[in-house]
């Protein structure tokens, strides 16, 4: 095998290891299944009636679903933060680093397994969404392109959580640090309410917020609303985040382990 094939095989072995813990840790499984469903139902039935929608949206479920799935993607990487933080604390990172594996394999394996988990989340949320009234207005190809974009955006945030997991002193604080950044970003966007209803300053922020950009892109791909530049800008944002966050996480990994 070549060095690249070894690196790919190491990454897959580690990704499989990360995934196999999910069904065995019921709390994590709940986070990936019950929690998104709960959010969909709460937003649809609690806020749905109270939010003034732009005319192009038929009902709040259609408006909400792209936004709430985008939010869930961003949070999906928290398993990476918890996992890396625990692996560091329990000495597993040392074990991995003493093995003849590719340097990149530990972080790549983590973020790769997040993609699989995020796909599970999307499936469950879309399933529930359809049950409560979500209707796709576009072709299957466009819907799948939306799924791919969601996974790419989620992948970018996995690197953010990797950085948090390697920075924070405990898995709890890694998770909390992640939520403190992501929560305001998702709410100060067009994900849950139209920015037009926000105060001027916040509205300006919401319009440049990448969460708005990605949410609008998914609305375009799933509901057929005008895309403008949102789809391409979503790709640019995601790739940009990966290009910034992945090297930071890799550097942090080298330093965190070199103690």
């Amino acid at each position: 095998m070549s060095a690249f094939q070894y690196a790919a095989s190491d990454t897959l072995v580690l990704a499989k290891r990360n995934l196999s813990r999910i069904p065995r840790a019921p709390d994590l499984l709940i986070a990936y299944t019950v929690q998104p469903v709960m959010f969909v139902l709460l937003f649809v039935y609690v806020f749905g009636g109270a939010i003034q929608l732009p005319p192009e949206f038929g009902d709040y479920t259609d408006f909400l679903m792209p936004g709430i799935v985008v939010q869930t993607m961003a949070f999906g990487g928290f398993v990476t933060a918890i996992g890396l933080s625990e692996d560091l604390k329990k000495g597993l990172i040392d074990r991995f680093r003493s093995l003849p594996i590719a340097r990149s394999a530990v972080l790549a394996g983590r973020t790769l397994s997040d993609i699989a988990l995020n796909l599970l989340s999307i499936s469950i949320m879309v399933g529930v969404g359809v049950l409560v009234g979500l209707t796709f207005e576009t072709s299957v190809l466009e819907v799948l392109a939306g799924v791919a974009l969601l996974l790419l955006f989620g992948y970018a945030w996995s690197w953010f959580f990797a950085l948090m997991g390697l920075t924070a002193s405990s898995s709890e604080s890694a998770q909390a640090m992640g939520f403190i950044v992501i929560f305001p970003l998702t709410f100060a966007s067009s994900a849950f309410v139209p920015p037009e209803s926000m105060p001027a300053g916040l509205q300006a922020f919401a319009e440049v917020n990448p969460f708005s950009t990605v949410t609008e892109a998914i609305r375009a791909l799933w509901l057929g609303t005008p895309a403008n530049t949102d789809i391409w800008m979503s790709v640019v944002w995601s790739v940009g985040l990966i290009l910034v966050l992945a090297p930071l996480a890799a550097a942090k990994y080298r330093r965190a382990a070199n103690r």
Partner: protein, 330 residues
């Protein structure tokens, strides 16, 4: 450098800010032998192991393990070493078998070979019945055994064990030591760190005592004990007025003049002097009534006091000195 040595380190230095974890460490371990790295917490043992296992680059100095440089040949070296760290590094959400298979895959043994090797090791470490249970259900001793098994998956010629018995109950500890002895008998080179002298004593061919990041003494266990002084006899008198009589009676058994301290007569036992039995006979003959008589063997604390003039200052030493004192009812 000569290939007689499986581990050779010269002038290793490592600092964290102002703290000199290693201040110039030289080590040599012959292929197929065991080096015990003995020292208190914070002495630099773990830092030395981390450098030798490629986890940490040294600030200065160089080291070769299995003929490979720990910095320049780090990736080639990793397939030649096994590491069992201070914290049993097992994945609690995997089963015992899955843990070892994963390690086998990461050593690139292939799927079938990894599975076969995992079963083999689980059996040898008496974990076969627990093989398909999640490691989080394992006892501390079982985790340690699994961790050690993981270090042996690829049959590496050199293994590093960082305080492998810390936190184990005596039975698990004995089992683990036996396993290590079996690996050594099979020709593996072992570097083992420990805080307890008797562990180093039992396993190691040579012992290096490390303190404040420096090797302060090196030799076989007998050589080190020689430096500390041998066994000491302590006799508690029933009647303090008989103290002088006891000192006269015991003087021929001592290397040095016995001393009296707070109702206790203390003396360094001369080798071949007849031991505690002869001491009791002599005290009886002299009509000295004793309340208690005990042999005190050298401990890590004694080694440290003798080498550095201060106590080792750690919990293990306190436990050790109790174990080291064998009381004989008088």
């Amino acid at each position: 450098m000569s290939s007689d040595y499986a581990i050779e380190a010269e002038g290793l230095e490592k600092s964290y800010g102002d703290v000199h974890a290693l201040a110039g460490v030289d080590l040599r371990v012959r292929a197929g032998s065991v080096l015990g790295l003995l020292g208190p917490n914070g002495a630099g043992k773990t830092t030395a192991v981390r450098i030798l296992t490629t986890l940490l680059p040294p600030d200065a100095g160089s080291a070769r393990v299995a003929g490979l440089d720990v910095v320049a040949d780090a990736s080639a070296l990793r397939s030649q070493i096994g590491l069992a760290g201070q914290y049993a590094a097992v994945d609690e959400t995997l089963t015992g078998a899955e843990n070892l298979e994963m390690v086998g895959r990461l050593y690139h043994l292939g799927k079938a070979k990894s599975r076969e090797r995992a079963r083999e090791l689980l059996e040898r470490f008496e974990l076969d019945e627990a093989a398909d249970r999640l490691a989080r259900t394992y006892s501390g001793g079982m985790r340690r055994r699994l961790d050690l098994a993981a270090a042996l998956v690829a049959r590496p010629p050199v293994i590093f064990l960082d305080e492998p018995t810390t936190g184990l109950d005596p039975r698990s500890r004995a089992g683990l030591l036996e396993t290590i002895e079996a690996r050594v008998a099979a020709g593996t080179t072992v570097l083992l760190t420990t805080q307890t002298l008797d562990e180093a004593d039992r396993l190691a061919d040579t012992i290096a005592v490390i303190d404040h990041g420096k090797v302060i003494a090196e030799g076989t266990s007998d050589e080190l004990k020689g430096r500390v002084g041998g066994e000491r006899l302590e006799v508690t008198m029933a009647d303090p007025d008989q103290m002088d009589r006891a000192i006269e009676a015991l003087a021929p058994l001592a290397d040095d003049r016995p001393v009296a301290e707070g109702g206790v007569v203390k003396l360094p036992m001369r080798h071949g002097g007849g031991g505690i039995a002869e001491a009791v006979r002599r005290l009886d003959g002299a009509g000295a009534d004793i309340e208690d008589i005990a042999i005190r063997r050298p401990t890590l604390d004694d080694v440290f006091i003798s080498l550095t003039g201060r106590a080792a200052e750690h919990e293990a030493a306190a436990g050790e000195s109790e174990e080291g004192t064998r009381k004989v009812a008088a």
